[in-house]
């Protein structure tokens, strides 16, 4: 408790110190040092809780309208803190390399570091607060800090627009959250999440369903589930790479944390909630994956893949939810463990991919795939990081993404005694997940193949060099995590076991059956998977070694076979757009594909071009509706006579009647 408070004070003090007038380098150093120290303080108390220690509780007396602030750090919060803070610190280290060229300039880099500190602070608040207002405070700090971090490059109008778009979206989410909290407060008469939970647990029915939907909308907006993701591609493309990484991998995982927290508070959710969550998540996963296939901006692509991956994690959580509803320990354990493990794995590989993408931007000043190419030979470490992250993102062994998807699949193909139609539905979901896996393999092949392999496409792009160690070190540390969690997934499971146990504890104890048995089985299964992954990695290494040892004749080099064409140039390589065009065309219903072209004409054609892009359907629709609404309002006001007082009176009367009606209606049940 004291350690948590000390960490918060330290983060605040560090943030304030970052703003002091001194050299930019010192500001960054102060920010990093305070963050590292706070991280150590928090982890010292959080890690024992993660590995099965007693939850940490404490209370702070506060002034009247707020009341006692209860702090509670249980296994779930501790799990999220255990990786959120170190990853934020790594992101801040990466920022040193990324913002290095501003260090000598007039630009105040301290603000950026202060905001990173505030982000870390928001994690401590959200993941430990047992008080709705503290939760909201942390939620809001995270949102505002993320917004200000996104608009680092604020002189650019596009960046400001992306930031504003994000700010509005996240506050729409806040409205839903506040609405749910207000309903819960009126019922429980307390701001404590625990008493929210008691009410939710005891009062199934329409109102609980409404609260569930409100919360799901809010958390969906936070974590960028489809169709609440429209802010995401812009924000991720506009922000500095480490901010995109932290937003996608770490900050917006708070939405999933809150989702799990409220499922645990509900205790025994209705069956439909599980199915709804699975359906909603599958939709996100499929649409997110489809959008990754069409993007030409590397960072937008990675952004959409967040939508895909929160969907995959959500499927796991939905399975856990079904397990709780059915009182089935095996399903509960595998669902929550799989979902949460995927959250962790996603944080690892997504941050790594964004860092690698940021390195590409730093070195070439563009993230437009169609201009890049052949970076692997110039930036080997960045390429290695990207391909490892990509393989993990496609959930392929032997890396970590596979382990959590394996758990989620095994939840979908469970051998439990459940209704046949439920099995059919779950197997269908698994088939959807298989589709998602194949599409993300397509996207990552396309992204890595076009950007890093082959030859450079555009001579106007600066010839890149490998980036500085400040940027490489965090990237490669994440890569180590990918491999470690891939070949030793029991390590990852150990981190989420405590949280899954929290869910299992909510189940009615069925006689002598040990509810924790399924977790031990999972651990055995995952160790086997880790063993196979390690064997696969070793097998590949052995084959390669054999090949180079017994290589036989020396190899020789030659140009790529041009299929008989004698004058190929690098512009003729397959582009990202052509790679995915055929595939995307088949999903025109959900994707908006733009194609503008000016074909060469005449005997001496001058300018000819072809531009194709894949824009967001939801955002387009959103803007067209807003535009449309705006126009109809204008039309309406034009048709009304401006100076007719009868209209104003009538409108006011209608409003009064409406409010009175609502008051009368609500008076009954609330009393």
């Amino acid at each position: 408790m004291n350690a948590l408070l000390a960490a918060q004070a330290l983060l605040l003090a560090g943030a304030a110190a970052c703003l002091l007038p001194m050299r930019n380098g010192w500001r960054a150093a102060v920010g990093l040092a305070s963050q590292a120290l706070a991280m150590v303080l928090v982890l010292a108390v959080a890690l024992p809780v993660v590995f099965g220690g007693a939850p940490l509780e404490g209370a702070l007396a506060w002034a009247y309208p707020v009341g006692t602030l209860k702090v509670r750090l249980d296994a779930l919060g501790a799990f999220f803190l255990a990786w959120s803070l170190p990853m934020t610190l790594l992101g801040s280290v990466y920022a040193v390399g990324y913002l290095r060229r501003y260090f000598g300039s007039e630009r105040h880099v301290g603000v950026h570091y202060a905001l990173l500190n505030m982000t870390a602070l928001s994690f401590v608040l959200v993941y430990t607060g047992d008080h709705a207002l503290v939760f909201l405070l942390g939620w809001e700090i995270a949102a505002l800090a993320a917004w200000l971090l996104v608009i680092w490059d604020y002189p650019n109008q596009k960046v400001r627009f992306a930031g504003f778009n994000y700010l509005v979206s996240t506050h729409i989410g806040l409205i839903f959250l506040v609405a749910a909290f207000m309903i819960l407060y009126t019922h429980s008469g307390s701001w404590e999440l625990e008493s929210f939970g008691r009410w939710l647990h005891d009062n199934p029915g329409a109102e609980r369903n409404l609260i569930f939907l409100l919360l799901l909308t809010s958390f969906g907006l936070k974590s960028a589930f489809f169709p609440f993701h429209s802010w995401l591609p812009r924000a991720h493309a506009a922000a500095p790479a480490h901010v995109s990484a932290l937003m996608s991998g770490v900050i917006h995982k708070a939405g999933l944390y809150a989702l799990v927290r409220f499922i645990l508070l509900i205790g025994r959710p209705d069956e439909w909630m599980g199915w709804f969550l699975i359906g909603f998540s599958l939709l996100s996963a499929v649409i997110g994956a489809l959008y990754t296939a069409g993007q030409r901006d590397l960072k937008r692509l990675l952004g959409y893949s967040s939508t895909e991956n929160v969907g995959i994690a959500g499927i796991g959580l939905g399975v856990g939810c079904l397990g709780l509803a059915w009182g089935n320990p095996a399903l509960t354990a595998v669902g929550f463990a799989g979902g949460l493990l995927h959250v962790l794995n996603h944080a690892f590989f997504k941050c790594q991919l964004f860092y690698a993408g940021g390195s590409v931007y730093q070195a070439t000043h563009t993230v437009d795939m169609e201009k890049l190419g052949g970076l692997a030979r110039l930036m080997p470490w960045t390429a290695l990081a990207f391909v490892l992250g990509g393989v993990a993102m496609s959930a392929l062994p032997p890396l970590n993404g596979f382990t959590s998807e394996f758990l989620i699949y095994s939840g979908l193909f469970n051998g439990q005694a459940i209704a046949a139609w439920a099995k059919v539905a779950l197997a269908g979901t698994a088939a959807g997940l298989a589709f998602v896996g194949a599409v993300s393999a397509l996207s990552i092949t396309r992204a890595f193949g076009v950007v890093f392999l082959g030859a450079p496409r555009d001579t106007s792009v600066e010839k890149p060099q490998e980036v500085s160690r400040w940027m490489l070190a965090p990237t490669l540390l994440h890569a180590v995590g990918l491999v470690a969690l891939g070949v030793a997934p029991a390590l990852g499971l150990a981190l989420v076991e405590g949280s899954a146990s929290l869910a299992l504890a909510g189940l009615p104890a069925g006689g002598a059956v040990d509810v924790h048995q399924p977790l031990r089985e999972l651990s055995a299964t995952l160790s086997r998977i880790g063993g196979i992954s390690a064997a696969l990695a070793l097998g590949i290494a052995a084959l390669w070694w054999l090949r180079s040892r017994l290589g036989g004749p020396q190899s020789s080099q030659h140009v790529t076979w041009g299929c008989g064409y004698t004058a190929p140039n690098t512009r003729m390589q397959y582009t990202g757009s052509s790679f995915s065009w055929d595939f995307s065309q088949r999903f025109r219903g959900v994707m908006v594909l733009l194609r503008r072209q000016h074909a060469p004409q005449g005997f001496f054609p001058k300018d000819a071009y072809l531009i194709s892009d894949c824009v967001d359907a939801v955002e387009r629709r959103l803007f067209s509706v807003i535009n449309h609404g705006d126009e109809s309002a204008t039309d309406l006001s034009r048709r009304l006579k401006e100076d007719d007082p009868r209209l104003a009176f009538a409108a006011a009367l209608a409003a009064i009647v409406l409010i009175a009606g609502l008051v009368v209606l609500s008076a009954g049940p609330l009393r």
Binding site: G373, R377, P380, V387, S394, A395, L396, P397, E405, F406, Y409, S410, F413, G415, A420, K423, V424, A427, G428, A430, A431, L433, A434, F435, G437, A438, V439, A441, T445, R446, G449, L453, G454, T525, I529, I532, A535, L536, G539, I540, L543, W544, R547, G552, P553, S555, S556, Q557, H558, V559, T560, W561, C563, T570, Q573, Y574, S578, F579, D582, F583
Partner: protein, 310 residues
């Protein structure tokens, strides 16, 4: 004892059958063409010849290109240890092993595709794009199929579900669709007609062949052998599905029967290849989606039967 025999036979079959399968397909095709055709072991000598050759690498390639072929080979061999061939038994068998099977093959595929992208040729890019998008349409079929078999047998391992499917109530209804789905999976994964034509000489119409266009020497041998291993394991799956002999009771007869069935699959592949033309590229996804749809319907039927519908 019979377990040991079966496992040994499985490992041997994974290593040797690919050569025989390719030989049988080619023999069938030359029979339809009125030629005598190559020896059944011809592909073995082809591999030996390739292994002795000096490889030529494209000057734009990275180490990934050199590693790619070996990743593909290692992954395919590992996957073949999970797929059942002789009844409800495989060397690597545990619950939900079919997920490992599918994703290890996924690893093989992504390295095949990345190796192809590595040479920076537009033709290879085109082949890769096709492979990547066609896979997306067929990938769900395997999971739907295993879901169907798992529903019928209450087994969660690949070998258990496929090998014991014969004992389930749904088997008489679903054996034909399941066999067809596996056959289409074989055609897609092993790059056979009507999805892909291994003999075409026009790069524009190739899928798998164009991806290995710049491979040569030992790397090409690894790629070709891996493709044959893939064909073998899907044929083995069909054999495990259809084999009427209880392999545990009578391992020798069971293995013989399975090998015969696999040979029959190879002949069937050869016949299709001789009698049917490759589909137009535009139509391939529909063909694959047909298989996926069939698998989905099978799953529904299996659920209906398991729910007490029939």
């Amino acid at each position: 004892m019979s377990v040991v025999i079966l496992l040994a036979a499985h490992v041997l079959a994974v290593l040797l059958m690919p050569i025989l399968m390719v030989g049988l397909v080619n023999r069938t095709k030359s029979w339809w063409g009125g030629r005598r055709g190559p020896k059944l072991s011809q592909s073995y000598w082809d591999l030996v010849r390739l292994l002795r050759k000096q490889p030529v690498f494209s000057s734009v390639t990275t180490p990934l290109f050199r590693a790619g072929a070996w990743v593909v080979l290692a992954s395919s061999l590992l996957a073949a240890q999970i797929a059942p061939m002789f009844g409800a038994l495989a060397p690597l068998q545990f619950s939900h092993d079919f997920i490992v099977f599918a994703y290890v093959l996924g690893l093989a595929r992504i390295f095949l595709m990345l190796s192809a992208m590595d040479v920076g040729s537009s033709f290879e890019g085109m082949g890769t794009a096709r492979e990547a998008s066609f896979t997306a349409f067929i990938e769900p079929a395997l999971f739907l199929l295993v879901g169907t078999a798992a529903l019928g047998t209450a087994q969660t391992s690949f070998a258990g579900a496929i090998g014991q499917f014969q004992g389930s109530a749904a088997y008489p209804w679903l054996v034909v669709p399941a066999g067809v789905v596996l056959f289409v999976l074989l055609q897609a994964e092993a790059a056979r007609v009507p999805v892909d034509d291994p003999l075409t000489h026009l790069e524009l119409t190739m899928i798998h062949e164009v991806m290995v266009l710049d491979h040569s020497g030992p790397e090409l041998a690894a790629m070709q052998y891996a493709a044959a291993v893939k064909m073998t394991m899907y044929a083995g799956l069909i054999a495990a599905l259809l084999n009427p002999v209880d392999t545990m009771a009578d391992p020798v007869l069971g293995v013989a029967m399975s090998v015969l069935l696999m040979a029959a699959v190879a002949v069937a592949v050869g016949c299709v290849e001789s009698l049917v033309a490759r589909l137009r590229m535009r139509l391939v996804p529909r063909y694959l989606m047909l298989a996926t749809g069939l698998a989905a319907v099978s799953l529904g039927v299996a659920g209906w039967i398991a729910g007490g519908g029939a």
